[in-house]
Amino acid sequence: MAVNLKRSSGGGTQVAVSRRRMLAWITGTGLVGSGVLSAVSNFVFIKPRATYGQPQRFSIGKPEDFPPGTRIALETRRICVVREGNRLAALSTTCTHLGCIVGLADTGFACPCHGSRFDADGTVTGGPAPRPLPWFKVTLAPNGEIEVDKDTEITPGSYLTL
C-alpha cells in the first residue's frame, strides 16, 4: 500500500466541490446546533423543578410546652427552641460550615464534624464556621400555637415576647 505524499487536490469539478462544501456546512451547523441544544436541555432536565422535603413553615406546639429556662433541640426540624422568661426564639442547628447538625453543649453549641463552636446566641466562638447560627422568625398563631418560619431569618437576639 504505497501512499502519495503530495497533498491530493481532492479531485472533482467545480460543481462537486461547491456541493461538498454546502453539505459540510449543513452537517457542521446541524452537529454544533444539536450539541448545544442537547447540552442545554440535559442541564434543564437534571435540574429538578419540584423538590421533595419538609415544609419550611410549621408549628411546634403551645408555649406551655417550653417552660422558662428551656433549651430544646427539635432534631427532625433542625432547630433549637430557647425560652428565657417570657421571651422565646428558634435557632438553626444546621452548622453554617458544612451542614452537620450541631449538638447542645454547656457553652452553647458544638459541631462534631470540624469542631466549630457557638455560644448560646449562635455566635461563632471557634472553629471554621463562617457565620453565626441563623435565628428564624417565630410567631404566635391565632390558635395559640407557636409557628416557626425557616424561610425568614431575623436578626440574632430578637425574641418573641409571649
Partner: protein, 429 residues
C-alpha cells in the same frame, strides 16, 4: 485451484471439528518463531493494543513498578464485582441499608464480593496516586507525553469521583455524613457552587434524590467515562513511542549500517523501500534495515509479566477480602452525626484543611494543586532527566513535588489519627 480436489467428506469434517473451531478462533498456534510471535500479537484482539516488540527498559520491574497496570487491573476487578453487586442493590433510602445486611447475611458470596469491591476501591486510589508519583519522579510527563499526563490527572479525578459517589450507596451513618459534608464543600465554589450542590443532590438536602443521582453516576456515567479515558491513555502510550526511557537506552546504529559515506552526517537509513501507511504514521523511525535495538518480542516477555501482575493483584485483593470485612455503620440517622464524622482516609487531608477554612481547604488549595499538576508538563520544558528515577537534572522539580506530596500525607495522617470527638486534637496513644 484445481477442480479435481475432492471436498472432504462429512466424516472428516466431523472428526476435525474441534481442531477447526479452535483454528478459526485463534489464527495462530502457539508461536515458535519470531514471525509467528509477531503475528500472534498483531492478530489477536486482546493483544493487538501491544506493540509486537517492546523495549527492554519497559519490562524492568523497578522502572514502572507495574503501578499503571495494577491500577487498570483493580479497575477491572471493580467493574466485575460491581456488576455482580448491582444484582442485589436497590438505590432507595428505604432499602439500601437492608440490602447491605442481606449481602452480608443471606447472599451467597455476598460478603466477599462486597469486601473485594471495597478494598479494590481503596487500593485503586492509593495505586493511582503512586503511579502518578512514579511518572513524575521519572520525568515521564515530558514531551511528547504531556497530554497523556493531563489525561492521567483526569483519570485520577475520575477515580476519586468514583469512590466519592460509591461512598454514599450503603446509606449508613458514615455515608450520609461524609456526603453531606462533601456536597457542602462543592457549595463553596465561586459563582456556580450552589448550583452544582443542588444538581448533585437533586434537592436541598441529602436524601432519596441524592442517592439515586449518586447511583447513576457511580454505575453508569463515571465508569463509562473512565473506560473511555483509560482507552485513550493506553492508545497514547503507543503513539508517544512506548514508555519513556533514558536517552542512552538505545544503541546508536553503527556507521556502516547507516549507509553513510565517510564525512557525511550520519542519517537514518533510507532504504529503497516504499513506505507503507503503517510506517508513515509511526514517524521517521520506521525500521527498514536491521538496526540493532534493545527490544524483545512482546510474546511472551510482556504478556507473561502482565499476566503475572494481574494474578498478584487478584491474589492480594482476595486475601484482603477474606481477612477484613468492609465496614458498615449504623443505618442513617439524619438527626445525629457520628462524632467525629470522618470521610474515607484519602479525603481526610481535605477534611483537615476544611476544618481551617471551608473555601481554602475544600476549593482553593485543591484547585491550585490540580492546576499545578495539569500544567506541570507545560511549565517544565527541560528535556533532561527523562527515564530515570530521581534524576540529578530534576532535583528542583522532584523536590517541589515531594514537598507537596509530604504535606498532603501529613494532613491525611493528622486527620486520620489525631482528630477525635468534635474534631479536637487527640493523640492516638
Amino acid at each position: 485451484m484445481s477442480k479435481e480436489t475432492a471436498s472432504p467428506s462429512l466424516l472428516t469434517a466431523v472428526k476435525e471439528l474441534p481442531g477447526n473451531v479452535w483454528k478459526s478462533l485463534f489464527r495462530n498456534p502457539l508461536p515458535t518463531n519470531d514471525l509467528e510471535r509477531s503475528s500472534t500479537s498483531f492478530t489477536n484482539f486482546f493483544l493487538h493494543i501491544h506493540p509486537v516488540k517492546v523495549h527492554k527498559n519497559t519490562l524492568r520491574p523497578l522502572y514502572t513498578l507495574g503501578l499503571g497496570l495494577v491500577s487498570f487491573f483493580l479497575f477491572v476487578i471493580l467493574v466485575v464485582t460491581g456488576i455482580l453487586l448491582m444484582f442485589y442493590y436497590v438505590p432507595s433510602t428505604a432499602q439500601a441499608y437492608d440490602r447491605m445486611l442481606d449481602l452480608r447475611g443471606s447472599v451467597a458470596f455476598g460478603t466477599i464480593l462486597r469486601n473485594m469491591h471495597r478494598w479494590s476501591a481503596h487500593g485503586m486510589v492509593a495505586v493511582v496516586v503512586m503511579h502518578l508519583c512514579r511518572v513524575f519522579l521519572t520525568g515521564s510527563y515530558k514531551k511528547p507525553r504531556e497530554f497523556n499526563w493531563v489525561l492521567g490527572v483526569v483519570l485520577l479525578l475520575l477515580t476519586l469521583l468514583m469512590s466519592f459517589t460509591g461512598y454514599l450507596l450503603p446509606w449508613d451513618q458514615l455515608a450520609f455524613w461524609a456526603i453531606t459534608v462533601g456536597t457542602a464543600i462543592a457549595g463553596y465554589a465561586p459563582v456556580v457552587g450552589k448550583d452544582i450542590q443542588f444538581l448533585l443532590m437533586g434537592g436541598s438536602t441529602v436524601g432519596q434524590e441524592a442517592l439515586l443521582r449518586f447511583y447513576v453516576l457511580h454505575v453508569a456515567v463515571l465508569p463509562a467515562t473512565l473506560t473511555l479515558a483509560i482507552a485513550i491513555h493506553f492508545w497514547r502510550i503507543r503513539k508517544d513511542g512506548g514508555l519513556s526511557r533514558p536517552a542512552d537506552a538505545d544503541p546508536t546504529p553503527p556507521m556502516e549500517m547507516m549507509g553513510a559515506q565517510a564525512g557525511s552526517k550520519p542519517s537514518l537509513p533510507e532504504g529503497k523501500k516504499t513506505y507503507g501507511l503503517q510506517g508513515l504514521v509511526r514517524g521517521p523511525l520506521t525500521k527498514v534495515n536491521n538496526i540493532p535495538d534493545n527490544t524483545v518480542f512482546s510474546w511472551p516477555n510482556l504478556f507473561m509479566s502482565e499476566l503475572f501482575v494481574f494474578v498478584m493483584t487478584l491474589a492480594v485483593i482476595l486475601v484482603l477480602a477474606l481477612l477484613f470485612n468492609a465496614p458498615l455503620e449504623e443505618p442513617v440517622n439524619v438527626m445525629h452525626p457520628p462524632n467525629p464524622a470522618k470521610a474515607p482516609w484519602y479525603f481526610l487531608g481535605l477534611q483537615e484543611m476544611v476544618s481551617y477554612s471551608a473555601f481554602w481547604g475544600g476549593i482553593g488549595v485543591p484547585g491550585i494543586f490540580v492546576g499545578l499538576l495539569l500544567l506541570a508538563p507545560y511549565l517544565d520544558r527541560s528535556p533532561k532527566g527523562v527515564g530515570v528515577w530521581f534524576s540529578r537534572d530534576r532535583l528542583l522539580a522532584n523536590t517541589i513535588f515531594l514537598t507537596f506530596l509530604a504535606a498532603n500525607i501529613i494532613f491525611v495522617i493528622i486527620g486520620t489519627f489525631f482528630r477525635g470527638p468534635n474534631w479536637a486534637f487527640v493523640t492516638p496513644w
